[in-house]
């Protein structure tokens, strides 16, 4: 069972043909009825030809845009299936995955520590001023920990990894596509999904949840620093509030989110580079790579936020 190359082509072609046929039927039907109406009017000498063609052009454009959208969705969907299939089945590219773990994970560690610490500190600060208004300062630990474990940890970690590693992944794969290196791989009978994409997906799936855990722990420590050392919250009340409010379901939600975000970010960023040559506005040269990288970062960041809401809505 493989989803690449031939299957991809056949699936895309069949989908295109069926949809093309349906849209063509609809188009002919609408065109026919519009034409008839137009004929009636033109025979009465009221409707010029240009005005009659306007809605037809609009419908044709709508059809073409719909087909393009479906084609792109199919292409990206098959890319994801192919990549996950390669990760799940041997041969495993352990050495390449370790290199990617180093790049996506170890090299992002400093950024994660830094952002995690300051996020926790600002949560401690804001939480302290808000909770003192209600006289519930004992909930500071719970507020900081729940915000981090459920929401901010997974989301901010994913956004940081997108900014640091996602953009680099897109640029790397895009340049390889532009300079025919991916074509060269295919011509050498080396599967580019297995060679290029699989190690990145495997590394992201392993590393992003781990980075999220580190973000959470450092963030909780940041909140502790501000709450306990800067203000007058007692250490016991900070940790006791956290222990009583955070349960396994919250941690699980954070891990599920981080896993999903890992797949999302590596999927979008690598697919944007991989299909650079098929971009509508031309994916050529340095400008093409820069455009693809920008759109990969924007699209994956927005996707992370949208899916964050959806997963929260389902799991809460």
């Amino acid at each position: 069972m493989r989803f690449g190359g031939f299957a991809e082509g056949v699936a895309a072609d069949s989908a295109r043909q069926v949809l093309g046929w349906i849209l063509l039927c609809k188009f002919h039907f609408i065109a026919g009825s519009l034409g008839e109406r137009g004929c009636d009017r033109s025979s009465a000498g009221r409707q010029p030809d240009a005005k009659r063609e306007m809605p037809m052009r609009w419908i044709a454009r709508l059809g073409a845009e719909t087909l393009r959208l479906l084609e792109v969705s199919g292409r990206y969907g098959l890319f994801l299936l192919n990549s996950l299939w390669c990760v799940a089945t041997p041969p495993y590219r352990v050495a390449a995955a370790v290199r990617q773990i180093r790049f996506i994970g170890a090299h992002s560690l400093f950024v994660i520590l830094f952002t995690g610490l300051f996020t926790g500190m600002v949560l401690g600060l804001q939480g302290y001023y808000t909770l003192t208004k209600f006289g519930s300062i004992g909930f500071l630990g719970a507020a900081v920990a729940l915000s981090l474990v459920r929401e901010l940890g997974p989301v901010l970690t994913a956004l940081m990894v997108i900014g640091r590693a996602g953009s680099a992944i897109c640029a790397e794969v895009g340049i390889m596509r532009n300079s025919e290196q991916i074509d060269a791989l295919e011509c050498m009978a080396i599967d580019p999904y297995r060679f290029l994409i699989e190690p990145k997906v495997a590394a992201a799936v392993l590393v992003v949840p781990l980075l999220t855990c580190i973000f959470d722990v450092v963030g909780i420590f940041g909140g502790y620093l501000v709450g306990v050392h800067l203000f007058d919250v007692s250490s016991g009340s900070y940790f006791q509030g956290m222990y009583s409010a955070v349960d396994w379901l919250d941690v699980r939600m954070g891990l599920v989110k981080s896993l999903l975000f890992a797949v999302l970010l590596v999927w979008i960023c690598s697919a944007k580079g991989f299909f650079l040559h098929l971009e509508r506005d031309g994916g050529f040269g340095a400008e093409g790579v820069s455009r693809a990288t920008t759109s990969a970062v924007v699209l994956s960041s927005v996707s992370v936020l949208v899916w964050d809401y959806l997963v929260s809505a389902v799991m809460l």
């Binding site: 493989r2 031939f6 340049i175 025919e180 290196q181 074509d183 050498m188 060679f195």
Partner: protein, 267 residues
Amino acid sequence: MSTTDEVVIALTAVEKSFGSQKVLDGVSLQVRAGTTTVIVGGSGQGKSVILKHMLGLLQPDAGRVEVFGEDLARCDRRTLQRIRGAFGVLFQNVALFDSMSVYDNVALPLRERTGESETAIRQRVRDKLALMGLEGQEQKFPAQLSGGMKKRVGLARALVLDPKVVFFDEPTTGLDVSRSNEMYRLFFETQKQLNYTAVIVSHDVPKIFKLSDYVALMAEGRLQGCLSPEAFQLSDNPLIRAFVRETMGPIYSSETEEVPRHETLSS
């Protein structure tokens, strides 16, 4: 070099359009085992597009591309991989992996496609690099090499698995005369040694004729003739005649050429 009548690659009425531009309009060609087939023609005529169809990188809009008897548009991924396993390709821009050293570039096909030990791989890579005159360059990166050296590394990578068919896309473009001659010498020697079938896309006429068994001209979306170099030069086909006259005739014979410099200066 032994040649047989076995057809390795067969293109039948292949058509391909990019947007509204029809690049291939019924291209037919047969490449026989052990021979060297050269596709010549002006820039932008679709020579490289034909090559990409043979490699299965592009699918034809109509017509068939058969390699080793398999229709590339219909075969599954595994069969395509198997067919490509017998290919070696020298791309126009060489397409070396720019983040890998010369050694790793040449070793990659061996590492990925054979189960050989690193010691055996090292030996084979060194042999191929020595054959190309690239000893001592193993640890350099492609960006540190000259154009001619890149082409030779590309050729070493294309030949490292002893392929049955080797595709050359403009092998001498951008090289000076001596580097071009060096590439032709390497091609001649390696083909004699490995006995591979070669498909060359080039516009280095007439030099390329010396190496070819068959020459075809890409013009007006079709391949005009697939003839021996001698027959090609004597062909009655008006397009081939015009091409031969233009590329091999006296310099500045045409009124469309620019005015010679000395005339401009004297006037």
